[in-house]
């Protein structure tokens, strides 16, 4: 029997009842998101939990979602052997006198388990002062900072980023949620995973991806990704004999008679997205 995938949500403002004694799981989480009153600024967290609860594997009990009103309750659970795979960790804890408690709890959390931790905060700016310190260096690959409801980080909001991370960990790549839209992901010759939209954003610029999304693609498909890629108005020249691909506008000496023109989509289809990135960066790159 494969190990259950466990997600912890640690936030002292979760509407957990006194009877629940600071911990919710299973049907209680569904009741919590569906029937209870939430503070206004937690709207995005509530929607994220709804999306997580709707992951089919939760109904199959392959994935467990547990909410905690305080980190110390989560640590008790970890001590009992319930090790999380992903943690959504609220930075501000109202009962802590100073944010150093949040820092110490975070450090303890990173030490006692190998979970990936999303540090999730109303106020993001004060956090880096602590997590940029050397004591967090070894943990850097295992945490990510987000501001609650932040929609400026990429075409994914903070919550959509977290949701997609969980979906990826579970191998669920048949759809993706971006800018509030659920979009089907189909096998195509360009990208392997809906998270590669982030790579497209890096290569093509956010405005291109936003424009593409605003046209409401029903799916991330061969046709729609091709449209997105070719929105980059750049030409490429391939010299197959030399095994070199260059930007049409590059300064490198060219042999036009030995070169063929390619579109952006053709470059990605033939050589992959990393080659596109390399040739945009350097102006020329080798291809096989």
């Amino acid at each position: 029997m494969s190990k259950k995938f466990i997600i912890y949500i640690m936030d002292d403002e979760l509407p957990i009842t006194r009877e629940e004694m600071g911990v919710v799981r299973g049907a209680s989480i569904i009741n919590m998101v569906r029937d209870r009153e939430w503070l206004g600024h937690l709207h995005d967290l509530r929607n994220l939990i709804i999306d997580l609860v709707n992951i089919p594997e939760i109904a199959d009990t392959q994935v467990e979602l547990v909410g905690f009103a305080s980190p110390t309750l989560a640590f008790q659970e970890i001590d009992a052997g319930q090790i999380p795979d992903v943690v959504i960790y609220d930075w501000e804890y109202l009962s802590s006198a100073q944010s150093t408690n949040s820092r110490d709890w975070l450090q303890h959390l990173l030490n006692v388990c190998n979970a990936f931790v999303f540090i999730y905060s109303k106020v993001r700016s004060e956090i880096p002062r602590f997590v940029n310190s050397r004591e967090f260096d070894e943990f850097a690959p295992r945490f990510q900072l987000f501001k609650k409801g932040d929609s400026t980080i990429s075409v994914f909001s903070a919550e959509e980023f977290i949701l997609q991370y969980v979906r990826n960990r579970l191998g669920l790549i048949d759809s993706v949620k971006i800018q509030g839209q659920e979009i089907r992901f189909e096998q195509n010759g360009y990208i392997d995973n809906p998270s590669d939209i982030l790579f497209m954003e890096k290569c093509l610029g956010r405005a291109s991806v936003r424009t593409w999304l605003n046209n409401n693609p029903t799916a991330i498909s061969e046709e729609s990704v091709e449209l997105l890629l070719n929105s980059l108005n750049v030409g490429f020249r391939l010299n197959e004999k030399k095994g070199l691909l260059r930007l049409e506008s590059s300064h490198f000496t060219s042999q036009p008679s030995n070169e063929i023109a390619l579109t952006t989509a053709e470059v990605v289809k033939r050589f992959g997205k990393e080659v596109l990135d390399a040739v945009l960066e350097s102006g020329i790159t080798s291809v096989k």
């Binding site: 900072l145 070199l244 506008s249 300064h251 102006g283």
Partner: protein
């Protein structure tokens, strides 16, 4: 420093905003992300060049890496796992040439948080040009204009030549133009 920059660049070229020369359809409004304009994250690592010198904590290319770079700069950049940990970023604005190691933790960046970018060196302000520099154990400094924010393929050739003159005038006498290595690679490939 200002007069050297003015002499070679400032009297002939305009300062540009980040991404102004980008081939990737990027703009400040859409693509400058959290953590990418803060200078304080790299403050103690920045070398404001007066006369030569290594930026703090730079890790130099070994002789084997230098040979690799010279024989195939594209393969070196794409496949050397140490590339980014040895890479430094440089920018020239109206005041100075600034150089800093790229590998500086910047947790305000959601993506790529182990590294700064060129706009951290400028506070997302204007610059003439930016790129990468690799310091070799052979004593040479290897430079290109690879910067999505201030460099890239739209950089005029004459500006690049002027930039090299700034480096030379500021004491980097042992300077290698990586773009020339790419050109030589381009010409010899397929033979």
């Amino acid at each position: 420093m200002r007069h050297i920059i003015a002499q070679h660049i400032g009297n002939h070229w305009e300062l540009i905003e980040p991404f102004e020369r980008s081939v990737r359809n990027k703009t400040i409004e859409a693509d400058l992300k959290d953590g990418e304009r803060e200078y304080d994250v790299c403050l103690r690592y920045v070398h404001q060049v007066v006369n030569d010198g290594d930026p703090p904590e730079v890790v130099k290319l070994t002789n084997d890496e230098i040979e690799w770079l010279k024989s195939n700069p594209d393969d070196f950049k794409r496949n050397n796992p140490n590339y980014r940990s040895k890479c430094t970023l440089w920018v020239i604005d109206s005041d100075s040439l600034k150089i800093a190691i790229e590998k500086i933790r910047n947790e305000k960046r959601v993506l790529d948080s182990e590294y700064i970018c060129h706009t951290n060196l400028t506070g997302a302000g204007k610059a003439y040009i930016g790129g990468e520099a690799l310091f070799g154990e052979d004593g040479y400094v290897y430079i290109n204009h690879h910067s999505d924010r201030y460099g890239g393929e739209k950089t005029p050739r004459e500006l690049w030549e002027a930039t090299k003159n700034v480096f030379l005038a500021l004491g980097y006498k042992d300077l290698v133009d990586i773009l020339k290595i790419y050109e030589e690679y381009n010409e010899s490939a397929g033979r």
